[in-house]
């Protein structure tokens, strides 16, 4: 049995331990194991990746028949240079989210951890799948627990938020599914295997009309899932209501499904379609996500909503990089996806830790927390700087690469996007200043009287540290993943560019 399958199945299997009525300590330890295995496997495979033998660009390739092979559906697992860092990121963020959840005081903790483990299994599956069908399948497997967890353990407006998320994300997922099925049939390959699909398209591309339509469908479908403006309204609301570990996993990892789908599936298979939609996508991303949402973010008073909006805003950069349709741009997006996974998760974690101390998310009722929790404030400032994209953090490399790529294609939009960095600096630093520095508000005085604020405990510090170290490691040593990304992106995209669409070839 190969490691990829173990990484997917072990959280799923260990989730059952939560309902077997085991003693509390045993169940908790099994849950730790369930979160640790994927992370360890992710890091281990990262180390092994360079030396591993690769078939059609994929390392660790295995395939299992689940009973639908007649329709070209097989559970095919493997990692290429794009999937590998995201797979490891999913494992590491999952571990951090799991550790944070297990130390929390959530009601019915067992059921909460059970759903988190199911989600974790799905997340690992998303990035390990070479089969487009299972790629979608695992996404849904991770998505459904999200809705339930928001509904049960969520904060303010949880019922409304859960319902809204469910409907938005189901629409997005359905549209993507139809787009993927359309590729399945129009490519003539009659298979969901990504490698076979790429080979089929390499022989003969899809017609331009089909490419345009299918890419449009996928752009909207994935766009909803990744919170592309103006389809983003579920995101801040949902993240505002979601319990912290769920927000970490969804904003950090699961949301990358849509971007990953565009990069791995849509753009290589539908290059003409991507060209057709590029300008629209870039405009929506920069004007909508970066500018409009950025300004909205500045106006936020609720810390968690602010973090949610900022995560929506940063997706604008990712879409801009995709719209460049160049090796540099796509490479930058992959780098940024990994970096944003860590930084968004870290911010959600710290926001909840702040809430524990201030009993509120309202920025106007905080202030002066640095005196009581210096370590927490150091973490928060670091996370904010990372999310702005300061050199030294992984996000910097992603953003700078995207800007370099975009300058060649969309100079005006790039200028606006770079201006967005200033916007994120404004709201990020303002939030840090409001929470930690400045005079202590009366409201906060009252809270402190009832419950004095302590600094980060080790059980909170450890998951935060895991995420911060990952950000710094990739920030100072980007080569850790840039080589493998570069290799795979080059392989997939140069092959795709060489293909002429059918109708041109026939004339």
């Amino acid at each position: 049995m190969d490691l990829l399958l173990i990484a997917i199945l072990s959280p799923l299997a260990l989730s059952l331990a939560m309902v077997l009525g085991l003693p509390k300590a045993v169940a908790r330890n099994l849950a730790y194991v369930g979160f640790a295995i994927p992370a360890v496997i992710g890091i281990w495979l990262w180390c092994q990746y360079g030396a591993a033998t690769k078939e059609s660009g994929y390392a660790f390739l295995t395939s299992y028949d689940t009973g639908l092979s007649g329709l070209g559906i097989n559970l095919t697992l493997g990692l290429n240079g794009i999937a590998m860092p995201l797979f490891a990121m999913a494992g590491i963020v999952g571990l951090a989210a799991g550790l944070y959840a297990l130390q929390s005081a959530a009601e019915r903790l067992n059921q909460y951890v059970l759903l988190l483990l199911v989600m974790q299994g799905g997340l690992m599956g998303v990035f390990a799948s070479v089969d487009v069908f299972f790629f979608y399948f695992f996404h849904e497997l991770a998505l459904i627990p999200t809705f339930i967890m928001v509904g049960i353990w969520g904060g303010r407006d949880r019922n409304y938020a859960a319902m809204k998320m469910t409907i938005y994300l189901t629409v997005g997922a359905m549209l993507s599914l139809i787009g993927l099925i359309a590729i399945y049939y129009t490519s003539g390959a009659q298979t969901f295997d990504m490698i076979a699909l790429r080979e089929a398209v390499a022989d003969q591309g899809l017609s331009t009309v089909a490419q345009k339509n299918i890419f449009g469908l996928l752009m909207v479908g994935f766009g909803v899932l990744v919170s592309l403006w103006p389809l983003h309204t579920w995101a801040p609301l949902g993240y505002g209501a979601a319990p912290s570990s769920v927000a970490m996993l969804h904003a950090g990892v699961l949301k990358k499904f849509g971007l990953y789908g565009l990069i791995q599936v849509a753009m290589p298979l539908l290059p003409q379609g991507a060209q057709h939609w590029a300008l629209i996508l870039a405009t929506l991303a920069v004007v909508g996500n970066v500018l409009v949402v950025g300004i909205i973010t500045i106006a936020q008073r609720d810390l968690k909503q602010l973090v949610g909006y900022s995560s929506v805003m940063h997706m604008g950069y990712a879409f801009l990089g995709i719209a460049c349709i160049s090796l540099v741009g796509v490479g930058g997006v992959v780098f940024m996806m990994v970096a944003h996974g860590f930084s968004a998760a870290l911010l959600f974690l710290l926001a909840t830790s702040i809430h524990h101390r201030t009993q509120t998310f309202d920025l106007d009722e905080m202030g002066g927390l640095v005196k009581h929790a210096p370590v927490l404030s150091a973490f928060f400032v670091a996370a904010t700087l990372a999310s702005i994209g300061l050199p030294g953090f992984a996000n910097f490399w992603g953003e700078i690469t995207i800007f370099v790529a975009a300058w060649k294609v969309f100079p005006v939009l790039t200028v606006i996007a770079v201006g967005g960095v200033v916007i994120s600096a404004i709201y990020g630093l303002r939030a840090a200043a409001r929470v930690f520095f400045g005079p202590q508000t009366e409201a906060f005085d009252k809270v402190l009287e009832e419950k004095p604020a302590a600094d980060l405990s080790w059980s909170e510090k450890l998951p935060a540290l895991i995420l911060l170290v990952s950000l710094l490691a990739l920030g100072f040593w980007p080569k850790l993943m840039s080589d493998s990304i570069n290799e795979s992106v080059t392989e997939i995209y140069t092959a795709a560019e060489a293909v002429e669409p059918v109708d041109v070839a026939r004339n």
């Binding site: 009973g67 329709l71 979608y136 049960i152 859960a162 319902m163």
Partner: protein
């Protein structure tokens, strides 16, 4: 008729081929006999005998699943044994078992005769099994009427409840009307197919094989075309699709919950068995059939989903959601005209629907009070907290019905959609997608009621306390059925192996 012909006809009476049906029928008679023989105090063992007998028949059936009769016609062309027919026979047996178990739970609380329910269920099951294999309009109509007459009794079983009686009356009127339309269509087809002036006419045009040949030879015959439309409309009553869907919410609400389950699962599947047969028979008039079924599918999906959005009574809700499922399945039927694997997809869908529905109806029988018709969403408050088992089963069942991965219902929908895509039914697919998205709202609303902490009005001193929602303890048999349905729904979502192979999907 010469003796030779008679002998030939007699020789084709392969009684072994309908062994399972005969056994189910005999079991029904045996139950009635027991009612006479046994003293009243021992009556409670009769349902157990029915269930045990059904399990025995299922076991025997599975062992002889690949009978030598597949591909043959028996009883002088009345029956045709096919792989799909085999699968559906097993399907009806399983459905009857599940419904009988639910019946035990539900009847316990009612002062109603306890034995007839099981006997009638068995007779209806036998008729459904025959229906799935019928190859002749006479056979089809007799089997269909046996089912419908059985349901007239079952629907109004709790005869002290006015809602149940109303449901029975509505079912009777709509059923009689649709039977009349069906019969009229059959008569037209018979007349057209038997008129000697037309090419390929036959003296025995009730037979599907002859009719098929006739329709191929006369693609422009108006009388036959009218007959086809009327027959399809008549069958629409069984599957609960437009134009005969309006009875569903009232009948589902009034009928005892196990009967609603039986209607939802087996009666619908029986209708689709007929549809699948008829679509091949009417192949000569493909364009007309596709047109009629497409309109039916679109109207059914939109009606079912939109009407279900505002329901608070869960029986009405599940009934209307069943209407929308009929719509998705109709898309599969249309696809089956061109795409062979669509038949397997429909069977998979039906099986997933069986598991999901049985799970949900099973939970409903445990969350209903003395008045079976009053089952409100509010009764589900905190179900997951106080009864985690029922909550989990309900969640899996509803998720599967909503078509959420990784559950079996999602695979069923996916397979049907794949088939529809291959057949090029893009417009219908778009409608189906809209339907699925709409359905998320009401399925999720139900899950929300059962799982999410709900706000409750405070009770002040002097007010009457809010009564606790009704909950029944889960017995062993019901527990096994519910757990099996839920686990199988999960398992089939991940691994379709043997079932996929049976249905020709791998």
């Amino acid at each position: 008729m010469s003796t030779e012909l008679l002998q030939q006809a007699a020789a084709s009476n392969q009684w072994v081929a309908i062994g399972p049906e005969l056994m189910v029928g005999c079991l029904a008679l045996f139950l009635l006999l027991l009612e006479i023989v046994l003293p009243k105090s021992r009556y409670e063992m009769i349902p157990s005998i029915a269930i045990a007998g059904l399990l025995g028949i299922i076991a025997g059936f599975i062992m002889n699943y690949h009978t030598s009769f597949i591909g043959e016609t028996t009883f002088n062309g009345l029956l045709k044994h096919t792989g799909t027919g085999q699968f559906l026979r097993l399907f009806f047996l399983l459905a009857a078992t599940g419904v009988s178990v639910l019946g035990v739970v539900a009847l316990k609380r009612q002062a109603m005769p306890k034995v007839e329910f099981f006997a009638i269920t068995l007779v209806v099951t036998a008729a459904m099994m025959l229906l799935a294999q019928s190859n002749n309009f006479v056979m089809l109509f007799v089997a269909l009427e046996t089912i419908t007459v059985g349901f007239y009794i079952l629907v109004s079983y709790t005869r002290t409840n006015p809602l149940s009686l109303e449901a029975g009356l509505k079912y009777l009127i709509m059923g009689a009307l649709s039977s009349g339309i069906l019969l009229f269509g059959i008569a037209l087809l018979y007349g057209a197919g038997g008129s000697p002036g037309l090419t390929a006419s036959s003296a025995d045009s009730m037979n599907f094989d002859n009719l098929r040949v006739f329709l191929y030879a006369n693609p422009d015959n108006i009388v036959a075309a009218v007959g086809i439309v009327l027959v399809l409309a008549g069958v629409a009553f069984k599957i609960g699709s437009v134009p005969f869907q309006i009875w569903i919410p009232d009948v589902y609400q009034g009928a005892p919950t196990p009967v609603s389950a039986f209607l939802a699962i087996a009666s619908k599947a029986a209708g689709f068995a007929v549809m699948l047969t008829l679509v091949t028979v009417f192949d000569g008039h493909q364009k007309l059939v596709i047109g009629v079924l497409s309109v039916m599918a679109i109207a059914t999906i939109l009606f079912g989903n939109l009407a279900a959005l505002t329901q608070h009574n869960v029986k009405r809700l599940i009934g209307l959601s069943g209407v929308s499922h009929a719509g998705y399945l109709l898309i599969g039927v249309i696809a089956a005209i061109h795409v062979p694997f669509a038949v397997g997809a429909i069977c998979f869908y039906l099986f997933a629907y069986l598991l999901g529905s049985l799970a949900v109806f099973g939970v409903m029988t445990h969350v209903s009070g003395d008045d079976d018709a009053e089952q409100d969403l509010d009764h589900y408050v905190d179900l997951a907290k106080t009864h985690p088992f029922l909550g989990a089963v309900l969640g899996v069942g509803l998720g599967s019905l909503a078509g959420i991965p990784p559950l079996a219902g999602f695979m069923g929908k996916l397979l049907v959609f794949l088939a529809a895509f291959e057949a090029g039914l893009y417009g219908l697919l778009a409608v189906a997608i809209i339907g699925v998205v709409l359905s998320i709202y009401y399925y999720f609303g139900w899950i929300k009621a059962a799982f999410f902490p709900q706000w409750r009005p405070p009770v002040f001193e002097g007010d009457d306390p809010i009564p606790d929602p009704p909950r029944q303890p889960v017995g062993m048999a019901a527990g096994i059925v519910l757990a099996t349905c839920a686990l199988a729904s999960v398992f089939l979502g991940f691994y379709q192996g043997p079932l996929g192979a049976w249905l020709g999907l791998s």
